[in-house]
């Protein structure tokens, strides 16, 4: 086996090396995709956007600099005559670029790319993501039977060029489970399975998609994606980690997504809902997006930290740019100066947090009256106390009576439902640069503006509102690209641009640039409605492919970049919980409301600097969907942590998906999962199904939307029968009743299924 393994290994790598060559679908040098990354990595640190680091007054990140006509560096068509190329290949340490001691080295293929580029005429164009979005025409393809829509033509075109065929369509069971998990984060229940599997109409799958898109649980699933990016949590973080009442923002997101609020409005309300004319309470709740930053008391440093987080979040979520790099110095790779960073900073610097409360005018009036009464009684007590000597105060009956009265009234002051909202700071703040990003070293004042590389703001005032509108304006190319890429990522496990949060020159190139732009151009055409876009993608043949690995694909494209099959991503923490609870019918379908406290092992909340409650919620709130679980930033629920839920500290646009023994232990032993298994068992045992086979089938279907095959059934029956057999080790001498044994056996079987890899994977 050892030797066999080694030989297979060698062949495998061999194929994969060849494959990488094949997998470059174009031989022609593309400035944006091939040349710019090399220049950016090797040259821009000293000859790029950062004016402080710039050497020899030479810029290679702009056309004017690199292709200058005065003392030219590049002679089009003649690499050997071009100074730029000569320096790259020079062996003289004085001449050589990058210098011998530089961190960045060039490979031979990097140098070759530059040579070919100059040889081919040294065409210059802007970095791909900054260019205006055009609407590429879907390519003509030879197979007419496969494409369902334009998406498939883009995908098939690439596959054909590298000599791969798409995979067959996944079977109905897999498709239904896949799309239900992707759109709702839930398993397909029995009715859904029956309806779809018996629906012979050609548009049966389309009907499923439309039903799912209309489900109120769609907002929970896709809302959670957004809450990751919004770094949503129910506490403020840091050492104190005090609670924050912000669930109304979470519900706003859910509702907006369920209502298919156009994405441009979705953005404007979250960044500047408070500045909209006649802003409604809902518009203002939306601004919770920016306020989700961690907060550490009321110091100016802490406020500035939060503003930095807000700017960086905007950079990540809307622009797909690592703007944070420019906090301390101009960006080393991307065209963003430090001054431009603070110009973005200025848009969000002049806003403060306020509490918005919800009650009727009568309720407010009653509270105001109570507060006023407490104030006046307290004042009266103070003057009464002035007549007493200091020692007597604590024992004076008149004083004690007054105190009791005040306390009782204070206890009656009601608290109302509330949200944290943004409002313009009064007076407004003047933003300055911070030298090296250090808050105690303010530099020149800066007024709000957008980076020069992107289309300018329209003339007029420059508030947060204009900025938000600019982010989603027709000619700002980043937001649509970044947004459709994230949608794609949620449906394929990876974006067309793999670095979903870095569309700059150091990010990865899009695998399908034309498809990305086509989708980005579709978004505004579809009125910025994400449901419509998701519908289009899930209807494609590309989405519907089987996810099974194929040796021919793995050999050429082990990462599945060209999508000759669907992917098999591991499910998110919340989805794993929700699916387990839903299979046994425990999961509450209640939507929204204050965050809840499901079961959690002891010992998680101990020894916080400030104690925090974890009293298990009563009734159905114990079994709510994972996204409603109260999130303490300092002590998150351990199941969420074990399965890679984000820490809500910085914006998370893609989750990790690890595989650890602690995950196995959770699924095997965590009382929450045993409870779910127990519920599934109860459902099965109390059903009218006649024999074990039928029951095993039903259980498998509830959990995995499919029937077990013969071998699987055999293994499951083994587990069942051994669990029923008389005990080989006594449990402290007690004998178990027959009924008990039966229930435990089925519970054990259910939990076996919950532990299958397939259960934590979307196939």
């Amino acid at each position: 086996m050892g030797i066999g393994g080694a030989i297979i290994l060698a062949i495998f790598i061999g194929i994969s090396r060849v494959g990488e060559v094949i997998a470059q679908p174009t031989a022609q040098i593309n400035f944006n995709l091939d040349v710019l990354p090399v220049l950016s990595r090797a040259c821009f640190p000293c000859h790029g956007p950062d004016e402080n680091a710039r050497q020899a007054n030479l810029r290679l990140d702009t056309k004017e600099g690199a292709l200058r006509t005065d003392k030219p560096l590049v002679i089009s068509g003649s690499p050997e005559q071009s100074k730029l190329f000569q320096r790259l290949v020079s062996r003289d340490p004085e001449e050589q670029m990058p210098p011998p001691d530089a961190q960045q080295k060039l490979t031979e293929s990097d140098v070759e790319v530059v040579r070919q580029w100059i040889n081919d005429g040294a065409a210059w164009s802007e970095h791909w993501s900054f260019r205006v979005i055009t609407r590429p025409r879907p390519p003509m393809v030879e197979r007419f039977d496969w494409p369902q829509n334009e998406i498939d033509r883009f995908i098939l075109d690439r596959l054909t060029r590298i000599g791969l065929k798409p995979s067959v369509q996944a079977n109905d069971q897999t498709l239904l489970r896949r799309v239900t998990l992707d759109l709702l984060g839930l398993p397909a229940n029995r009715d859904a399975q029956r309806d779809f599997f018996s629906d012979e109409r050609p548009d049966a799958f389309e009907r499923v998609i439309d039903r799912l898109l209309a489900s109120p649980h769609f907002g929970e699933r896709w809302g959670r994606h957004w809450l990751d990016a919004a770094r949503y949590a129910d506490s403020s973080g840091f050492e104190g980690d005090p609670p924050r009442v912000v669930w109304k923002y979470r519900d706003w997101v859910l509702n907006a997504i369920n209502d298919d609020l156009p994405f441009d409005e979705f953005v404007v309300q979250q960044l500047a809902g408070d500045l909209l004319p006649d802003a409604s309470p809902q518009n203002r709740i939306a601004t919770g997006f920016l306020l989700n930053s961690q907060q550490d008391g009321g110091s100016e440093t802490s406020r500035l930290d939060a503003v930095v987080d807000r700017v960086n979040t905007i950079g990540t979520v809307f622009l797909g740019l690592t703007v944070g790099c420019a906090q301390c110095h101009s960006h080393k790779f991307d065209p963003l100066t430090q001054r431009e960073y603070y110009a973005l900073f200025a848009f969000v610097n002049s806003a403060d947090e306020a509490k918005l409360e919800f009650a009727t005018p009568e309720q407010f009036a009653r509270r105001d009256a109570l507060v006023a009464e407490v104030a006046s009684l307290t004042a009266e007590r103070t003057s009464y106390a002035a007549t007493l000597s200091a020692e007597r105060i604590k024992s004076d009956p008149g004083y004690l009576e007054r105190t009791a009265n005040i306390d009782s009234l204070t206890g009656r002051i009601p608290t109302f439902e509330s949200a944290q909202v943004l409002q313009p700071a009064t007076p407004g703040r003047v933003t300055t640069m911070f030298i090296r990003g250090e808050f105690h070293r303010p530099g020149e004042p800066v007024s709000p503006d957008v980076p020069q590389i992107l289309p300018p703001l329209p003339p007029g005032s420059r508030t947060r509102l204009e900025f938000a509108r600019w982010l989603v304006s027709a000619d700002q190319p980043l937001t649509p690209r970044v947004t459709v890429n994230r949608v794609w990522q949620h449906l394929f496990g990876r974006g067309l641009v793999e670095t979903e949060n870095d569309f700059g020159s150091q990010g990865s190139r899009p695998t399908h640039p034309e498809l990305l732009d086509w989708l980005a151009s579709e978004l505004p055409r579809r009125g910025w409605r994400l449901k419509s876009l998701i519908r289009q993608i899930t209807l494609s043949s590309t989405y519907r492919q089987a996810s099974h690995h194929r040796l021919d694909v793995d050999a050429i494209d082990a990462d599945n970049r060209w999508l000759a099959r669907q992917s098999r991503p591991r499910l998110e923490a919340e989805v794993i919980c929700d699916t387990a609870l839903a299979a046994g019918g425990l999961l509450s379908t209640k939507i929204g409301g204050p965050s809840v406290f499901p079961f959690q092992p002891d010992g998680i909340m101990i020894n916080r600097a400030t104690p925090a409650p974890w009293k298990i919620s009563p009734g159905e709130d114990r079994y709510r969907r994972g996204l409603y679980t109260y999130y303490w930033r300092l002590t998150p629920h351990p199941m969420l942590q074990t399965f890679d839920a984000p820490d809500a500290i910085t914006s998370c646009t893609r989750r990790q998906s690890s595989n650890t023994p602690l995950q196995a232990l959770t699924l095997l032993n965590d009382p929450m999962f045993t409870e779910a298994a127990n519920a599934i068992a109860r459902e099965i045992v109390s059903s009218r199904l006649e024999n074990d086979d039928q029951r095993v089938n039903r259980m498998f279907q509830l959990c995995l939307t499919r029937l077990p095959d013969a071998h699987e059934r055999k293994l499951l029956n083994q587990v069942l029968n051994r669990a029923r057999s008389p005990l080989t080790e006594g449990t402290s001498g007690k004998t178990r009743s027959a009924e008990n044994v039966e229930r435990l056996a089925w519970t054990q079987l259910a939990q076996t299924i919950l532990n299958l890899e397939e259960f934590v994977v979307r196939e």
Binding site: R550, L665, P671
Partner: protein, 470 residues
Amino acid sequence: MREPQLMMPNRREFVRYGVAGLASLSSASIGPSLVQAEESISPLLRPHFPARAKRVIFLFMLGAPSQFEMFENKPKLRELDGQPIGDELLTKMKFAQITEQRPSLLGTHVQFARYGESGAEISELLPFTAKVVDDLVIIKTMQTDEIPHHPAEVFMHTGTRFFGRPSLGAWVNYGLGTESSDLPGYVVLQSGMRPRTKGSIYASGFLSAAYQGVPLRDGAEPILNLARPAGRTAEDQRDMIDAVRQMNLHRSQLTNAPETLARNNSYRLAERLGETAAEAINVGGETPATLAAYGVDPAQPSFARNCLLARRMVERGVRFIHLCHGDWDHHSNLRKGIASQCQQTDQACAALIADLKQRGLLEDTLVVWGGEFGRTAVGQKTVNADIGRDHQIAAFTMWMAGGGVRTGQTVGETDELGCFPVTQPIHVHDLHATMLHLLGLDHKRLTYRFQGRDFRLTDVAGRVVSELIA
């Protein structure tokens, strides 16, 4: 070295798991080939250069011990005890809590003597440490950036004051993988007060959750969810896991998915964890002499017991063992407080060094001792309490021992009052760079790309301190 068992992050690994998968799938039987398929995983992660140490024990002294009562003998400070500080010091010194206009110097009440061949000065509060000084390098000029506890705790562990970054232990496991096939690569043992920042100091941040520190809990269930549900026997559980693994393997014949085998591997580890974790924390088999040397009462959770557990973890291949003990935050009642803390920790620290050495484990185990900062040369006065010391970040003491460290010396010297370094300031970033270096990792090359930037433990700073290296 074995495959880092707890992780599965990149494509290369998938390819390798895939190879294992291919090999096993060619075989029709499930039994033995299942185990082979899951185990035929080759080492992937290698150090950047030959390592001097394979693993780390970090003895983190939460709350910041006072160096003046332990390692820094300053006769001048004793001489000037009670004198208000001068203008120069007043402008240069930073305080966290002291509000007094002009605080006074505080000479220590404890006696110092020289020990070992190196002649290191150690206070009477550390009689056991005094016996092992020649196995230590004592650094007197440690510096950090943060003066409040919580950012300083986070800074000491992650190299930044920001929450959400990976801890030193996570970085080390990310860089080297784990040697243990039975235990997590990063184990956390706590005694006394828990860190103010809780799990933030052993979190994996943007690295995979596979690298996060696993806190061992007191009591019957050292790792969360280790205990089986009520009513399920060990045999039942074994049946379940067998069925899960066989069904996974069966399914993978259809999906050809290499990640399925990796998950089977996790179940194998999970199954073993039940036994191995329980065995690893059971000190019942240690000889009475060993227990006495550490000062361990087997039934009582304590720092001493954790030191003994640390040695057991070392023997079992755990890569990073993180002990955390508090509270050393003696703003007041210093005299009583520090005596008590030293009494709880001194014997066990020294016993750990001696025990590792005697077993030949010290040469490739790096042991590091210290708090998030040190304490001031001036006294802090509190109403109704005995005097204490405030936070000092410009100079504090840590020590290192074991793997590749140049022991038997003191590095760095502070001024006559112990307020600022006179020679060789060593920043937390430098400590981190040096620790990684000893483990064979270049701190500038150990990077992880997150949000478009290559992050390092040492951010944009850090230098390997050659004086600390043998």
